[in-house]
Amino acid sequence: MRTYILQRFLQMIIVMVVVMLVSFIIVELPPGDFLTTLREQLTDQNVDPKVIDSTVEMYRARYGLGENWFIRFGKWAWSLMKGDMGYSMQHNRPASELMGERLSLTIWISIATLIFMFVVSVPIGMLSAIKQYSAWDHSFTFLALLGVSVPSFITALVFLLLSVTLLGATTVAGLFSPEYVTAEWSWAKFVDMLKHVWIILFIVGLGDTASTIRVMRARMLDTLGEPYIDTARMKGLSGAKVYFRHALRVAINPIISSIGLRFPQIISGSTIVAIVLTLPLIGPLLLEALLGEDVYLACSILVVLTLALVIGNFLADLALAWLDPRIRFES
């Protein structure tokens, strides 16, 4: 078990380094000299020329611009590791400051979506398999296929349309009631968020919930056909015990191990949904950064999101190893 954790940990570190490298290449990819763009932009914003000079100089030094690419990568990666996400040219503020709360909210909402996905899809998929070809199964199989086909930004748009036409809303539903938007975090604000957040979870999680229902149903059907289920039945166990104690444990495995693939999709979904519904998540910031060609900010966001995913993936693997003795004893 310990060697397994160690191995997975090493693997995670390697993936992280590669992710940073790839992101770095993406930053470097755009044509044009970053410093020239920066200088132009700052000039446009009527910033004091002295400040411009010193800012540009600071960037040259910090990112080693003009030096070898691997030195530049090293410097960038090092500053990232120290928690320095770079500097937003548009906002004239350190990126980490801008990201702060948005980032943590994004990650929490994604985790909540993941939980929502599990809570909804596992029972539905399981019941569909147990009652195969029943009306319940047919309707959920169809609904799930429908759900898989609707991208989250369209769900968000439809939601927007409904709230505009049916409820006559003039502003977009956010995460908070208006009075809490700028308020400090408090219990009341948290409760307020809970009231609003479920619809977001639904919008972001719909597609993945639907596809998890499909996976769960298929896995459960496979598992119920396994001989060890017959063994369990022959002990005289009740249906519930067979399904929950014996079948579910095995059937749910691939769903847990697929967290690593689901999570990126949920983050993708939450990014675009946040843009459509103007939620205080990381998505709108990323879009803004991209449209404003604020490369270092955009890239930091990409890297941070991906690293969060890689860590999440690692944790999911640990959970799996803890659940499944076959993996636990592998090494």
Binding site: H246, V250, R326, S331
Partner: protein
């Protein structure tokens, strides 16, 4: 409702009919089966695959999914702790059924590897059963489980409690499953092919265990199997099933000594046994088991029956031949052409046909037996005359690295083949036998260089001269392979489902530019006819053929380039007994016609003995005994060979084997025991065996018989006696 049966019966199935509904229509899988099991009795239910054995036995406990199953008729009476209960009517009442399952009746399944829950400890799985049925505190349930694990012969039972399925071997899992089934002391154990997935030595252990537990726990057993040998060793009474119907029922002695039904007679005659004349044709049933949708009207066996008569268009009655012996056949009923009294004599000639095998026997004698200089004590094959040796491998090894972890580090080596020497002579069949995982298949693939040897030399000669092929390029190898053919184990996977038969069989022709265009069609047609199929079948796809027919196609492909050497890797182990006999006959015929040399690989020593001139016995990557086929079976010199012979369930009831059974499991091939590799299981082990590895050397007084045991010249091991000594109706000697 009918009345409950007398209390002597533990199980009474009456006229059970089960159908399956699908889009293609409704097919009847079980068609009026009646069967009973009395107290303390072991009843065997035998039949070929797909004949409805599993559906019958699963209906007893409601394990057949419905839908698609329809229980159309019948009653199943089961003795429970509350008296007789009719379980078919309980299918609706799951609660009552659950109380019976595990407590009054239990079941063990065919695939022990998949029947243990992979994520729950063994202990938890067994105690769960106790706690379900009885009000006991967990500590007591724990103790009882340990006791039960001990009873089924698992070593160190307390430690097994915390282990998971993947930590146990197949044999151990089946033992654990038996413990699980018996922990609540049911009166009836249903065993659905409990040993089919296991090696012969393990099978022998499990059968022994079931027999032993029946006495100790005074229970009854209903045993399903397709292996006549297994029922003969274990059962008291037997029912023979074919296409959803019971053909014949009787005590084990009657069924084996005086089989009445043509199907039973055919089944017994199809089996190559350790007593039959080697290299002769087996009496096979013609044709194949039809699909359920194509079952003939009247007697379902009619289209394969050698005694078929007009009357057989009607369903035959079940005739009581004697107390406890009945058969469903017109031969014995009034209205049939042959009165019952003459039936037995009519049936008799079936197993001794006219002597068509005569010329084969002559051919066998013609095969040159390798000569050797007396007194040579080298462990090598005797230096054979180059004119006769077709294949020679020397000290060949195949090691697979075990890679683990991120960096794919090598953490060990599986020594699949570890220094093997063999010579195969022109026109000779060398049989290679051993348990699963011992490296048989690897030897077969090494010979054709389908895998690259780790060490050693392989020499092959298509026409006379031996040529070294160990390291030649793939291009040259292609030329060499033209003279080799190979037949694989799995008839399903060995034919590409996307290609039609013409392209499958013609592929080697095209690749070797033997033929082009229409010429391929003609040659493929010829080949198909040679293996007993029709030339017109070329345009069909593999899914249109049965397992036996597919194996014929595979043989046609192997022979397409007119090779002089054939590797047959378990060519019959995936087939039903009756079809197995057909394929063995075909291989023997072709070998004679084409003067093929053959490396014949199988795990069943009876099959190997039947087709081979010489046999090599393999254990954990090494040859442990090598010699003339009959000699090896009659006078084995290696304890492992003796164990293999002793493990084979013989279709000969009452023949108690007193020989030593091999203990334990096959060791991990990645970590073979030091010294003699068999010492962990050998009953004759001495201290020297743990330290020194015995070389393969010829035994005293016989330069053609080799063994790799330190004590091969001192031990007096038991083989299988010659035919004359034992009355063996299943193997009435041909030509005698």
């Amino acid at each position: 409702m009918n009345t409950a049966p007398d209390s002597d019966k533990v199980l009474d199935i009456r006229d059970l009919q089960v159908s399956f509904r699908s889009i293609a229509g409704t097919t009847r899988a079980v068609n009026g089966v009646s069967l009973d099991v009395r107290s303390g009795e072991i009843v065997g239910l035998v039949g070929e695959s797909g004949c409805g054995k599993s559906v019958t036995i699963r209906s007893i406990v409601g394990l057949v999914p419905s839908p698609p199953a329809l229980f159309e008729e019948g009653e199943i009476w089961l003795r429970t702790r509350r008296g007789m209960a009719e379980t078919l009517s309980l299918h609706k009442n799951m609660k009552a059924l659950r109380q019976i399952r595990g407590r009054d009746v239990s079941m063990i399944f065919q695939e022990p590897m998949r029947s243990v829950h992979p994520m729950m400890t063994i202990g938890k799985q067994i105690t769960e059963g106790i706690l379900e049925h009885e009000i006991v505190d967990p500590a007591e349930a724990y103790d009882r489980t340990v006791e039960m694990l001990d009873l089924v012969g698992l070593p160190n039972p307390a430690a097994q409690m915390n282990r998971y399925a993947h930590e146990l071997s197949g044999g151990m899992r089946q033992r654990a499953l038996i413990a699980l089934a018996l922990v609540c002391h049911p009166q009836l154990l249903l065993a659905d092919e409990p040993t089919t997935a296991l090696d012969v030595t393990i099978q022998a252990q499990i059968l022994e265990l079931i027999r032993d537990l029946r006495e100790r726990m005074s229970m009854s057993v209903l045993l399903i199997t397709h292996n006549m040998g297994v029922v003969a060793t274990l059962a008291d009474r037997i029912s023979v099933m074919y296409l959803g119907k019971i053909m014949e029922t009787g005590t084990v002695e009657e069924i084996f000594k005086e089989p009445a039904h043509p199907y039973t007679q055919g089944l017994l005659a199809s089996m190559p046994s350790l007593f039959s004349q080697p290299k002769t044709h087996l009496q096979s049933l013609r044709g194949v088991v039809p699909e359920l949708a194509m079952v003939p009207k009247g007697c379902v066996f009619a289209d394969r029956c050698p005694h078929v008569m007009p009357k057989c268009d009607e369903t035959p009655p079940v005739v009581e031949l004697r107390a406890d012996h009945s058969a469903a056949c017109w031969l014995y009923a009034d209205g049939g052409e042959t009165p019952g009294a003459e039936a037995a004599s009519t049936a008799e000639p079936l197993v001794s046909t006219e002597d068509t095998s005569g010329d084969f026997q002559k051919a066998v004698e013609v095969i040159p037996v390798p000569g050797t200089e007396p007194g040579s004590d080298s462990a090598q094959e005797p230096p054979a005359d180059n004119d006769t040796a077709q294949l020679q491998i020397e000290n060949v090894a195949l090691h697979y690295p075990i890679l683990r972890g991120l960096l794919r580090r090598q953490v060990g080596t599986v020594r699949a083949v570890d220094g093997v020497d063999l010579t195969i002579h022109r026109g000779e069949t060398l049989g290679l036998v051993g348990e699963s995982g011992c490296g048989k298949t690897s030897v077969g693939r090494l010979v054709a260089r389908l895998v690259e040897p780790t060490a050693g030399r392989i020499r092959f000669g298509a026409d006379g001269d031996l040529e070294e092929i160990t390291h030649i390029s793939q291009k040259e190898m292609k030329r060499v392979r033209r003279a080799m053919g190979m037949v694989f184990q799995d008839p399903l996977s060995s034919l590409n489902a996307r290609m039609n038969i013409r392209n499958i069989v013609g592929e080697p022709l095209m690749l070797h530019q033997v033929a082009k265009g229409r010429a391929v069609d003609d040659r493929v047609g010829e080949l198909l006819e040679m293996v007993g199929l029709r030339a017109a079948h070329q345009s069909r796809f593999p899914h249109a053929f049965s397992g036996g027919q597919r194996q014929r196609i595979a043989i046609a492909r192997a022979l397409a380039t007119e090779p002089s050497f054939l590797v047959a890797d378990e060519p019959v182990s995936a087939l039903d007994v009756s079809v197995q006999a057909q394929i063995l006959n075909l291989l023997l015929t072709l070998q004679q016609q084409l003067n093929l040399s053959m490396l014949f690989i199988a795990h069943d020593i009876a099959v190997v003995r039947h087709v081979s001139d010489r046999i090599a016995v393999m254990y954990l990557g090494k040859i442990v005994e090598l010699g003339e086929a009959r000699e090896i079976c009659v006078r084995p010199v290696h304890p492992y060979t003796e164990a293999l012979l002793a493990s084979i369930p013989l279709p000969m009831p009452g023949l108690e084997t007193l020989r030593e059974m091999p203990k334990g499991d096959l060791p991990d091939p990645a970590n073979p025991p030091r010294g003699c590799r068999f010492h962990t299981r050998c009953p004759y082990k001495q201290t020297i065996c743990e330290q020194e590895e015995p070389p393969l050397r010829h035994i005293a007084g016989d330069p053609d018989h080799f063994g790799a045991c330190h004590f091969q010249d001192e031990l007096h091991l038991e083989g299988v006696e010659e035919i004359d000594d034992i009355h063996a109706p299943a193997a009435v000697a041909e030509g005698k």
